[in-house]
C-alpha cells in the first residue's frame, strides 16, 4: 500500500496539483450535464469519502494532520462547497434544459407565492440560531481550541500557518511579495467582490439558477473561488509543512527537509543570461525590463486583447469604457497569480521587478 501512497506523493507537486485542479475545473464545466445527475453525484460523494477514509487508514501522517482540531473545518468546507456547487449546477442544468425547450425556470412556479415574515420566516430563523448554537457548543466541548505555545519571538512555530480560511492568501505569499499578496490582492478581492453588482448589469439569471445564460460571469468567478482559493486552502492545510516546504499529502513532515530553491529575478535573466553584460548598479535601470513587462500587462494588454477578441469588443460596447476598464483590470489582477505561478514553475522566476533596496518587489 505504501507504494500507492509514495506514488501519490511523488506525483503531487505544486505545479501538478494546480494542473489537476484546472483539469478538474474544466471537466466540471464541460461535463456538468453528467455529474449533476443525483446518481452520479452520490458516486462522487462516496469517492470523496472513500479517498479520505483510505488516506486516514493507510497514512499515519495524514491521520495526524487531518484529525487536528484546527483542520475539522477543512472537511466541512470540502463537503459543503461540493454540495452547494452540485446544488447550484443541478438547478442551473435543469433550468437550462427548460429554457432551451421554451419553458420558464423552475423558480418561476414558486416565486409568485408569498409567505409571512412572522411566524414563517422569523420562527425558522430562530430555530436555526438555536441549532447552530447547539452545534457550536458541542463542537467546542468535544474538540479543544487549538492553542499553540506561548508566543516567543525566538521560537516561532514551524510551520507557522494562518487560520485555515486564510491559507489561500498565505499560498500567494510563496509567489508574491507580502505587500502584494498580503495587502494589494486581498484589497482587490474585497473591492472586486463589492464591485460585482455595479459592473454586472445583466438581468439574466436574477432569481433563478442558470449556467448557459451566465457563462462569462460564472466561469471566471468559480475559477477565482475554486482554483485560487479553495484548492489552495486544501493545499496549505495538507501539503505545506515545516519551512513552508511542499510535502505530499502522505509524506512525513520532516523539520530538516532540504529542497532546491534557486529562484532567479527577471532582471538577472535579461541582463546577465541573455544580454551577458551584468546587472546595472542603478536599480531603476536594472529593473527596467520588469517595469516594462508590468506596464505592458496592465496598460498595453487590455486594448490589445479587446481589439483581437470579438467577445471582449461586444462586452465593451455593452458595458461602456469605465465598467469594462474596471472589469479587465480586476480580471488581469486575478490572472496575475496563476501567471506568476506558471512562470515560477517553468523558469524559476523569482520577481519580475525586484528592488529589495526599497522593499519593492513584484
Amino acid at each position: 500500500m505504501h507504494y500507492i501512497l509514495d506514488a501519490i506523493d511523488f506525483v503531487l507537486q505544486p505545479w501538478s496539483y494546480f494542473l489537476f485542479s484546472v483539469i478538474a475545473f474544466w471537466a466540471m464545466i464541460k461535463y456538468r450535464e453528467k455529474w449533476t445527475e443525483p446518481a452520479f453525484a452520490v458516486k462522487l460523494l462516496w469517492g470523496a469519502i472513500g479517498a479520505i477514509v483510505f488516506s486516514m487508514v493507510y497514512s499515519v501522517h495524514f491521520r495526524e494532520i487531518a484529525s487536528l482540531p484546527d483542520n475539522v473545518p477543512i472537511f466541512l468546507m470540502v463537503f459543503s462547497v461540493g454540495f452547494f456547487t452540485w446544488l447550484s449546477f443541478r438547478q442551473g442544468v435543469l433550468n437550462d434544459r427548460r429554457i432551451a425547450q421554451g419553458q420558464p425556470p423552475i423558480e418561476k412556479e414558486t416565486s409568485d407565492k408569498k409567505v409571512y415574515v412572522w411566524p414563517d420566516l422569523v420562527y425558522i430563523e430562530f430555530i436555526a440560531t438555536v441549532v447552530a448554537g447547539v452545534v457550536l457548543l458541542i463542537w467546542s466541548l468535544c474538540l479543544h481550541a487549538p492553542l499553540e505555545q506561548a508566543a516567543t519571538p525566538a521560537w516561532t512555530p514551524n510551520p507557522s500557518k494562518a487560520p485555515w480560511y486564510f491559507l489561500g492568501l498565505q499560498e500567494m505569499l510563496v509567489y508574491y511579495d507580502p505587500w502584494l499578496a498580503g495587502v494589494v490582492f486581498p484589497t482587490l478581492i474585497i473591492v472586486g467582490l463589492m464591485a460585482i453588482p455595479y459592473i454586472d448589469k445583466n438581468p439574466k439569471g436574477a432569481g433563478y439558477y442558470t449556467f448557459n445564460e451566465r457563462k462569462l460571469a460564472i466561469i471566471p468567478f468559480l475559477f477565482g473561488f475554486f482554483i485560487l482559493w479553495v484548492t489552495l486552502i486544501f493545499l496549505g492545510t495538507f501539503m505545506r509543512g515545516p519551512g513552508w516546504n511542499f510535502f505530499g499529502p502522505y509524506e512525513n513532515w520532516d523539520l530538516h527537509k532540504v529542497v532546491v530553491l534557486n529562484n532567479v529575478n527577471l532582471s538577472e535573466y535579461i541582463w546577465v543570461r541573455i544580454l551577458g553584460i551584468g546587472l546595472p548598479s542603478n536599480f531603476l535601470l536594472r529593473e527596467i525590463w520588469g517595469f516594462l513587462a508590468v506596464g505592458f500587462y496592465l496598460i498595453g494588454l487590455p486594448p490589445l486583447l479587446t481589439k483581437k477578441i470579438p467577445l471582449l469588443q461586444e462586452l465593451l460596447e455593452k458595458m461602456g469604457v469605465v465598467r469594462y476598464g474596471i472589469l479587465i483590470f480586476l480580471f488581469l489582477s486575478m490572472a496575475a497569480l496563476p501567471i506568476k505561478m506558471v512562470l515560477r514553475w517553468l523558469i524559476n522566476l523569482k520577481y519580475i521587478v525586484a528592488i529589495p533596496e526599497i522593499f519593492f518587489n513584484i
Binding site: 409571512y116 414563517d120 425558522i124 447547539v134 516567543t152 530538516h256
Partner: protein, 934 residues
C-alpha cells in the same frame, strides 16, 4: 382565520416541537459546558487529599483516645464536679462581682468612646487651626487658652479611665480567685485532651458536610470555595520568555497537597511529602517554598494545573506507560520548560550553585561535574565555571622519553584493547569511520599525529634504574599506601578510583626505569604534575615498580600497530590544500613537501581536527581553543536546534545527550558527509552511572535568571571557601579524606574488605577549629606521620604557597574561625591544680592509647596521636570540646567519652570538686604545659 392557516408555509405545531426539542438540547449543552468547566482533575485531588487526611486523623484519634489515662481522667471529672459544687456557696458573691464587672465595662466604654476620643479629635483639629492661624498672623491667644483647657480635660478623662481600669482588673482577679480551683481542673482536662480535640477539629475540617458542598457547588464556587487553586508567586525568580520576564507562579501544590507537610512520606502520589523536607520546601529549610518554589528546580509549567500541560516528564519508558494509563499523560509539546526527569533533577542545583566546586547534597551532580573535568569534556566544550582547569590527560611535552611510538599508535587506535578501564576515549573504528575508505584515512591521520607528537617532544630519560623488587610486596604496598585513592587496578575489586589512570596494564606501557623514577619523584618527568610523592623507601619503590611492571596486557603486546598508506595520507593533505591553492596548486604544494614535512602537516591538521590538545599539553597547541560546542546553557537550547539526524530518538534534551554519550557518532547515520566533516566526538565508554551523572550535569547547564543574592558561594566568605575547595578537588583530597562529610572514597575498600575504619585516612570534619595554622602550614609543606600505625600515607604534595594558604583559609573559615585563625589561650595551673591534674591524667589512663613522646603504647593498632604534640598542633578550645564529647566532633571516634553527655557527670569526681569543665580545662592546660616544657 382558516384561510390564514392554509397559507402558512410550515405547520406551526411541527415548528413548536422542533423549537422545543432544539431548545432542550441547547439547555443540556449549556449544562454540559458548565459541568466541564467545573469538573477539573485538581479538584478531585483536593477532595481525595481531604479524605486521606480525615482517615489518617481518625486513626490518630483512636490512638490518642487509647493513650488517655482514664483513671486520671475520671478523677479529674470528679474533681471538677466537686469544684463546681463548692462554688455554689459563693454564688451570691460571684453574681455581685459579675454585676460590678458589667457596670465597670459600661463606664470604661463611656469614658473612652464618649468622653475621651471626641475630645482628642477636637484637640488635634484645634492644634491644626492654631498653627494655621499663627502662620496667617492672626491672634491666637483665645485658641491657645481653649487648647490648654481641653488638654486639662483630656488629662482628667485619662485619669478616670485609669482608675476604672484598675477597679475592673481587681474584679477580674477576685473572680479568678474564687474560680481558681475549677479553672485549674478544667485546664488539666483540656491539656489531657489537647491531642484529641486537635484531631477532632481536623476530622471536622476534612469532612464533606453541607457547608462544604454549598461552598464548592457548581456556579456558587466563585464566592468562597474551600477547594481552590494554591500557588506561590516568586518575584525574585522570573521566568524568562526571551525578551520579557514574567513572575514565576508555581501551582504545583494545588495537587501535591502534602509536599510541605510532614507525615505523608508513604502516601500515594500526588500526596507524598517532599523526600528532603529538611533541605527543600519546608519553611525552615534552606530552600523554602515561598522563596524558591518548585519549577526553578524541577522545571515544567508552574502555572498549569493539569497533569499533561504542566509538562511532567517520566524517568523512563516504564513510568511513561504507567502515566499514560493512569493520567492519560502525553509528551509535552510546545512548552518553554519541560520538567526534568526526576533522576536528573540535581542538575538544577547549578542555577544557584554553579560557581561552587561541589554541592554535597547533590552527589550525582558533583560526580557528573567531576567527570566532566577528569574525563576531559571541558577540554573541548567550554562550560561556564569549569574553565582554566588542569587538563584531563597527561602532558605530551616529553612523550618521546616516556612511550614507544608503536605503543601510542596502538593505544590511540583502540584504547580499550590496551585497558578496558582506560579513560582515553575511542576516536577511531567508530560507527561513522569504519568503512574501508575511512579506516585507511584514519590510519594515515593517526600515523601522522604520532609523527608530529614525537617531532615536537622534548627529550627525557629516567635518572635511576629500578633495582630488583618483590612483586608480592609491591602489590601489598601499592594497595596499602594509598595509590588506590586516585588510581584503579584490576587486582583490587573493592574500590576503583578513576581520578588518575587505571594501572591494570601499565607494564605494557612504561619502562621499569620510568616507573621507578616516577614513583620516587614524579616532578622529574613533569614539573607540573599533580602526582604526589608517597615517601617510599628505595626498596618499597622497587617493589611497587616490580609489581606494576608485572601488570601487562599480553594480547595488546602481541597486536601490531595499524599500517598507514602514504598515498592515502597524500590524498588527505590535498583535501586540506585544495581550498587554499586549487587542484593544481595543491599538487605543486604537496610535491614540494618531503615525506617528513607531509607527516608533520597532516599530523598538525589532524591534531586540530580531533582537538587532542583539549586534554593533553602538546607543543604548538598551547593556546588552541577547544573544538566542541559551548555547553554553558545547553539545557535551555531549543530542541529544534539539535540535529537528531535520522535516528528514531525522542526529540528531548535528555534523549540527545544520552545518545551522544552512548555513541556520539550515531547522528551521522545514513548521511552523506565528507570524511573531514564527520562528527568527531570520541566514545568515552562510560558506565551507566557515570553517564547518568554527566547527563545530570549537562542538563543542569541552563540560562536562567537568578538574582545575585540567591547565588551560593559568592557572598561573604564564599569566594575564599571556593578557592580552597578548588584545591581540594584538583588534588583529589576527598579520594582519602572525608571533607564536609563527603568523599573519603577509599573507605569503600575498608568497608568491603572489613578493615577497621579507624585505619582509614582521617575525617577532616572540624579541621579548621582543631588544627593550629602554623602547624597546618608546616605539615603541608613537610608531611610527617602523625599516626604511625596507619599503613596509608598522607602524600607529600608539591603545593604552591597560594594552594596551601587557600586550603588552610578554607578549613578555618568553614569552621567559623576568626582571622588570624589561631589564638593560643591556655590557663596557668597552680601547684595544687597541677597535682590534681596529674592524678586525673593517670586515673584516666590517657597513656594507655596515646603516644607520649618516646613512650609508645604496647598495642600500636589501637594507638592514638602523640600527646606531646598537642600544644603545637591543636587549638586549645578544640581540645576541651574533644574531651567533652569526641563523638559529636567526629562520628566513630575511638577516643572514649569520659564525660558522658548530656548529664556531664565527671568520671573523676574527686578532683576540682567534680567540676567537669574545670577538669577538662586543667587537662588541656597540662598537655600544653608539658609540650612546651619538652
Amino acid at each position: 382565520m382558516a384561510d390564514f392557516k392554509d397559507e402558512r408555509a410550515y405547520d406551526s405545531k411541527t415548528l413548536t416541537k422542533v423549537f422545543l426539542w432544539s431548545s432542550l438540547v441547547l439547555l443540556i449543552c449549556i449544562i454540559w459546558m458548565i459541568w466541564k468547566d467545573y469538573n477539573r482533575p485538581w479538584k478531585n485531588y483536593q477532595r481525595q487529599f481531604m479524605q486521606l487526611q480525615r482517615s489518617m486523623a481518625v486513626d490518630q484519634k483512636t490512638e490518642a483516645i487509647s493513650d488517655i489515662d482514664f483513671v486520671k481522667y475520671k478523677q479529674l471529672r470528679l474533681d471538677l464536679a466537686q469544684a463546681n459544687n463548692d462554688l455554689k456557696s459563693h454564688e451570691d458573691e460571684i453574681d455581685k462581682l459579675n454585676d460590678q464587672a458589667a457596670k465597670l465595662d459600661n463606664q470604661i466604654f463611656k469614658a473612652k468612646t464618649v468622653n475621651y476620643q471626641p475630645l482628642k479629635a477636637q484637640i488635634d483639629a484645634d492644634k491644626y487651626s492654631y498653627a494655621e492661624a499663627n502662620k496667617d498672623g492672626k491672634d491666637t491667644t483665645k485658641l491657645n487658652t481653649k487648647i490648654q483647657s481641653e488638654i486639662d480635660q483630656a488629662g482628667a478623662y485619662t485619669q478616670q479611665l485609669f482608675d476604672l481600669q484598675q477597679q475592673r482588673d481587681q474584679v477580674t482577679k477576685d473572680l479568678a480567685d474564687i474560680n481558681s480551683k475549677r479553672d485549674d481542673v478544667n485546664a488539666n482536662i483540656n491539656k489531657m485532651l489537647a491531642d484529641y480535640h486537635l484531631l477532632k477539629a481536623k476530622i471536622d475540617k476534612n469532612s464533606f458536610g453541607f457547608v462544604f458542598y454549598v461552598r464548592n457547588a457548581m456556579l456558587l464556587d466563585f464566592l468562597s470555595p474551600t477547594i481552590q487553586i494554591q500557588q506561590v508567586v516568586l518575584k525574585n525568580l522570573p521566568e524568562d520568555l526571551y525578551f520579557a520576564k514574567t513572575m514565576r507562579v508555581d501551582r504545583c501544590m494545588t495537587c501535591h497537597q502534602a509536599i510541605d507537610k510532614k507525615g505523608f512520606e508513604n502516601a500515594p502520589e500526588p500526596f507524598r511529602t517532599h523526600p528532603h523536607l529538611d533541605l527543600y520546601v519546608g519553611p525552615t529549610s534552606q530552600h523554602p517554598m515561598d522563596k524558591v518554589g518548585c519549577t526553578i528546580c524541577h522545571g515544567g509549567m508552574g502555572q498549569a494545573i493539569d497533569f499533561t500541560t504542566c509538562a511532567h516528564v517520566p524517568n523512563d519508558e516504564e513510568q511513561a506507560k504507567l502515566w499514560k494509563e493512569k493520567y492519560g499523560w502525553e509528551a509535552p509539546e510546545g512548552v518553554q520548560s519541560t520538567m526534568l526527569p526526576l533522576k536528573y533533577t540535581e542538575g538544577s542545583c547549578l542555577k544557584c550553585h554553579g560557581t561552587q566546586e561541589f554541592i554535597n547534597n547533590a552527589p550525582k551532580l558533583d560526580r557528573g561535574r567531576e567527570l566532566m573535568v577528569t574525563r576531559g569534556c571541558v577540554g573541548c566544550h567550554k562550560v561556564k565555571n569549569l574553565e582554566g582547569l588542569t587538563k584531563a590527560g597527561p602532558s605530551l611535552i616529553r612523550v618521546k622519553g616516556k612511550l614507544k611510538e608503536e605503543f601510542v599508535e596502538k593505544w590511540v587506535w583502540d584504547p580499550k584493547s590496551y585497558n578496558a578501564a582506560a579513560r582515553m576515549p575511542s576516536f577511531f573504528q567508530q560507527t561513522n569511520n569504519s568503512d574501508d575508505e575511512a579506516l585507511a584515512k584514519t590510519k594515515a591521520e593517526l600515523h601522522s599525529i604520532v609523527q608530529y607528537l614525537y617531532e615536537h617532544s622534548a627529550n627525557y630519560a629516567p635518572n635511576e634504574n629500578a633495582p630488583a623488587g618483590s612483586i608480592a610486596n609491591g602489590k601489598k604496598v601499592f594497595k596499602e599506601i594509598g595509590c588506590l585513592a586516585c588510581h584503579g587496578i584490576d587486582d583490587v575489586t573493592s574500590h576503583h578510583a578513576d581520578f588518575a589512570p587505571d594501572l591494570s596494564a601499565i607494564g605494557s606501557k612504561l619502562s621499569a626505569a620510568f616507573v621507578y623514577t616516577w614513583i620516587k619523584n614524579p616532578r622529574h618527568f613533569n614539573p607540573d604534575t599533580r602526582m604526589p610523592v608517597l615517601r617510599l623507601t628505595n626498596q618499597e619503590a622497587a617493589d611497587v615498580t616490580a609489581y606494576l611492571m608485572s601488570k601487562k596486557n599480553k594480547t595488546f603486546d602481541e597486536m601490531s600497530a595499524p599500517q598507514a598508506d602514504p598515498a592515502v595520507r597524500d590524498d588527505l593533505i590535498q583535501t586540506y590544500l585544495k581550498p587554499l591553492y586549487g587542484i593544481d596548486g595543491a599538487k605543486t604544494q604537496l610535491a614540494q613537501m618531503d615525506d617528513k614535512a607531509r607527516e608533520q602537516y597532516l599530523g598538525q591538521k589532524s591534531l586540530s581536527k580531533y582537538g587532542c590538545f583539549g586534554c593533553h599539553m602538546i607543543q604548538g597547541f598551547e593556546t588552541a581553543q577547544g573544538i566542541g560546542t559551548e555547553l554553558s546553557d545547553w539545557g535551555t537550547k531549543q530542541v529544534g536546534q539539535l540535529d537528531f539526524g535520522t535516528t528514531d530518538l525522542e526529540h528531548t534534551h535528555e534523549a540527545f545527550v544520552n545518545a551522544k554519550l552512548e555513541n556520539p557518532r550515531q547522528f551521522d547515520k545514513d548521511k552523506s558527509v565528507a570524511f573531514q566533516d564527520r562528527l568527531k566526538m570520541p566514545n568515552f565508554r562510560l558506565n551507566p552511572e557515570d553517564k547518568e551523572a554527566i547527563v545530570t550535569a549537562v542538563l543542569g547547564l541552563t540560562k536562567t535568571y537568578v538574582p545575585d543574592d540567591m547565588i551560593a558561594g559568592i557572598h561573604g566568605n564564599g569566594p575564599l571557601l571556593e578557592k580552597g575547595r578548588r584545591v581540594i578537588a584538583n588534588f583529589n583530597c576527598r579520594g582519602c579524606h572525608l571533607i564536609e562529610d563527603q568523599g573519603g572514597r577509599i573507605r569503600e575498600m575498608y568497608e568491603k574488605e572489613n578493615i577497621d575504619l579507624s585505619l582509614a585516612p582521617p575525617n577532616l570534619r572540624k579541621e579548621g577549629s582543631k588544627i593550629q595554622v602554623e602547624w597546618f602550614h608546616d605539615f603541608l609543606l613537610n608531611v610527617h606521620p602523625i599516626r604511625p600505625w596507619l599503613h596509608i600515607h598522607m602524600p607529600s604534595f608539591h603545593w604552591s604557597d597560594e594552594d596551601i594558604s587557600n586550603v588552610i583559609t578554607y578549613f578555618n573559615l568553614k569552621d567559623d574561625q576568626v582571622y588570624p585563625f589561631t589564638t593560643i589561650v591556655t590557663g596557668q595551673l597552680s601547684a595544687n591544680e597541677l597535682t590534681q591534674t596529674k592524678a586525673m591524667f593517670a586515673k584516666l589512663q590517657c597513656q594507655k592509647c596515646h603516644i607520649f613522646g618516646t613512650a609508645v603504647p604496647a598495642d600500636l593498632s589501637t594507638a592514638a596521636p602523640d600527646l606531646l604534640q598537642v600544644h603545637s598542633r591543636l587549638k586549645p578550645d578544640w581540645v576541651v570540646q574533644w574531651l567533652m564529647n569526641p563523638e559529636a566532633l567526629m562520628p566513630g571516634a575511638r577516643m572514649p567519652s569520659f564525660w558522658p553527655q548530656p548529664d556531664d557527670k565527671s568520671p573523676v569526681p574527686h578532683y576540682f570538686h567534680g567540676d567537669s569543665e574545670k577538669q577538662r580545662e586543667a587537662l588541656r592546660d597540662y598537655l600544653f604545659m608539658l609540650g612546651k616544657a619538652n
